[in-house]
Amino acid sequence: MTVDTSERTAVPASPGRRVSRGRVLLLGLAGVVVLLSLTRVVTGADVLTSSGTAAALLVLALPIALAGLGGLIAERAGVVNIGLEGMLILGTWGAGWAGFQWGPWAALLAAVVGGALGGLLHAVATVTFGVNHIISGVAINLLAAGFVRFLSELFLVGRSGGGATQSASIVGSVPSLSLPVLSSGPDLLGRLEATRLPVLADLGGLLGGLTRDVSVFQIVAVLLFPLVGWLLWRTRLGLRWRSSGEAPTAAETLGVDVVRIRYLAVTLSGALAGFGGLFLVLFAGRYIEGQTGGRGYIGLAAMIFGNWRPGGLLSGSLLFGFTDALRLRAPDAVIALLLLVAVVLLVLAVVSFVRHRRVATVLAGATGVVALLGWLLLDSLPLQVVATTPYIVTLVVLAVASQSLRPPRAAGLPYRRGQA
């Protein structure tokens, strides 16, 4: 089967107005804070930007972000990894199994190894045997889900309160740090949050939540993003890595060992997803079957949203983590998001109208109006609908964002050594 799985069209960056990527990111973040602040003031939902939400945001965004980072390094090497969900599942199981016996550090090791094994399987299927990347990934997701149930029945049932669908509680704790002065001791950010001033209080709440009592694992995970950015865009290995994803046959003629790089990339990809699974287990205190809840796929969506770059991916993950945190902490506040969604969609409708895209205008406009009406007319959303917030946001974001993206050119395409 020869399939072009990436139908997203490549759009060359216009050379005339090139703004540095960092500045765009900062501007975007500032815009988000202002929008959130406005929404908070208009709707009175303080929980939108409280430090508690920010702390939960970090916890919930990291599994998505790490899965997305795994997807990024795999696709940059030319392998589409839909199997991330399965690798996340293997990571959570490994973390739960090792965690209840030997504590969080063993859980870290087992989660990473579990995910990496899943990645290795995907590499064998796609790189060595040339199986369609999507098919292999889907098969791995099915296999992983069945496999962990089997492992649970063998190794978790009856062991200090574990069962076929969950492990016993994780023992021990992970050391954590806070920023001195700003978020501990005098706690300046906390005082800023307490003022309830527009924008300033929001900033205080968000930054305070993100820097108070952060675990060592979380710090390592966040540092991985600049590290991968440096590795892929600033080193010789990174150049080879990306050339395997853009033009593997050309890379091969220049002496790059595409097969070895892809094996490395996909295995590491699984390890990162497994690391992400660890955070889910630590958050819940134990392994619970089905706790990944499709976050591997959301990670892929974040990667697409972030245009296959670590910075963009991280901001996409923060968005999903935010909606997730909000629905878990304050289901009543989710309705405030409708206003945000409505504004974004109506802006998109105007943009599409200016560009003479009729279908997109109608779709975005209609959905935007429905969201606005929903916000105006409804007092609260039914809980079952609130539970789907992250998925709906993912859909909306993908629909809005996926136009001017450029995936790695050879991602998902069949490649065999020796055909250059």
Binding site: V138, A139, G146, I304, Q384
Partner: protein, 384 residues
């Protein structure tokens, strides 16, 4: 002779894959300290009594029907390389809508069932239209959108069945369900017909939806292989560029394939609705759509292949209780299913390579001697 060979070439890879998968599973079980021999024996154990065997056969057939329908639904989209991972969500939404409409209506027998089937197909197609439209207008990858829609469907169905679609005649307590279907919508099944085959009738009938599944299978097979739509579908899958160049509208094909796939997905929950549960509630079977993907992969997108794959999966599912009585985790059958799918895609790939190489050799043997050195040189270059 060639027909036999072709059949052999079509059947050999899946058969080899199943054997490899069994071997891998046996190895895995042994490594993990489970007696593989007992496990495999429990898998094929149908029980001693005639009644027990008939019941096992009934479970096998009834279980295969939804898996077959899900596999066919997935395969229609697969045919043009569209990955409809969303069969899961489509059948959930379709079933809750069909159960609601069917429960609230009172119609004569064949019409009632027909309306339910139509509502299910329409709802499934409508839900599949979302990823199709997003793909066509915004270029969003359907794999991710259908997966998101699966999760949304869980919430949506739970909301509908707890709110607007809830059986208003039932009391407040208990799990919410839709109003149970009337007698006129309950499908008769096959029970006494077992006697015709010289078998004991099972204690519960095989779902009558088996007939619908067979009809759907035949219609889809003919549609794909004998109609213009089928040709355009296959052409778009085999070579999108050539298909567009020959005037096949790519976007319209995406829409049509997804809508058809969604409509078929709408049928997946109906065997359970029409011949077992008669209403949709929180305990309605989930996961059939995901298994359908595996079934479609195993059946290599051909209708007969999907039928065999569905029977195999149902055969493995059926073994759960008998594994449990042997003290073996019933999830062994899930592992075999997963391993079979992965090995079958690998074996398919290897078989395709072997065939290509053999064809290569055959063609080279026939070409003029003068042309051989050039071809050989090219081949040598390729291997370097």
């Amino acid at each position: 002779m060639t027909a036999v060979r072709r059949l052999g070439a079509a059947l050999a890879p899946p058969a080899v894959a199943v054997l490899i998968a069994l071997a891998i599973t046996a190895l895995l079980l042994t490594v993990l300290g489970v007696d593989a021999g007992t496990a495999l024996r429990a898998l094929v154990d149908f029980g001693g009594s005639a009644q027990g065997q008939a019941n096992q056969l009934r479970t096998l057939l009834s279980g295969a029907v939804p898996l077959f329908l899900a596999g066919v639904a997935v395969s229609v989209a697969f045919r043009m390389n569209l990955f409809n991972i969303g069969v899961e969500g489509q059948y959930r939404v379709a079933t809750v809508c069909a159960a609601y409409v069917g429960g609230e209506l009172a119609l004569p027998m064949p019409l009632h069932v027909l309306v339910i089937v139509l509502v299910a197909m329409l709802a499934g197609a409508a839900y599949a239209a979302v990823p199709a439209v997003l793909k066509v207008t915004r270029g969003v990858n359907e794999v991710i959108t259908t997966i998101m829609l699966n999760s949304i469907a869980v919430g949506l169905a739970a909301y509908l069945v707890a709110g607007p679609f809830r059986d208003s005649t039932a009391g407040e307590g208990g799990n919410p369900t839709t109003r149970p279907l009337g007698e006129s919508a309950r499908l008769p099944g096959f029970q006494d017909s077992f006697l015709l085959l010289g078998l004991q009738p099972p204690t519960r009938p095989v779902t009558g939806f088996l007939v619908v599944a067979v009809v759907v299978g035949v219609v889809v097979a003919l549609l794909v292989s004998r109609t213009r739509f089928g040709f355009e579908l296959r052409a778009s899958g085999a070579n999108p560029t050539a298909a567009v160049a020959s005037g096949i509208p790519a976007k319209a094909m995406v829409l049509r394939a997804m809508l058809l796939s969604g409509a078929l997905a709408g049928l997946v929950g109906l065997p359970e609705l029409l011949s077992e549960d008669y209403s949709y509630g929180t305990s309605f079977t989930s996961g059939l759509g995901f298994t359908g993907i595996a079934v479609a992969l195993l059946g290599r997108n051909s209708v007969p292949g999907i039928a065999v794959a569905a029977l195999l999966f149902s055969f493995l599912d059926r073994a759960g209780p008998s594994l449990e009585t042997q003290g073996i985790p019933p999830s062994v059958s899930t592992i075999i299913q997963g391993t079979v799918v992965l090995t079958v895609v690998v074996v398919n790939e290897v078989a395709a390579r072997l065939l290509a190489r053999r064809e290569d050799r055959r063609v080279r043997g026939r070409t003029e001697p003068a042309a051989v050195p050039a071809a050989a040189a090219q081949q040598g270059e390729g291997r370097a």
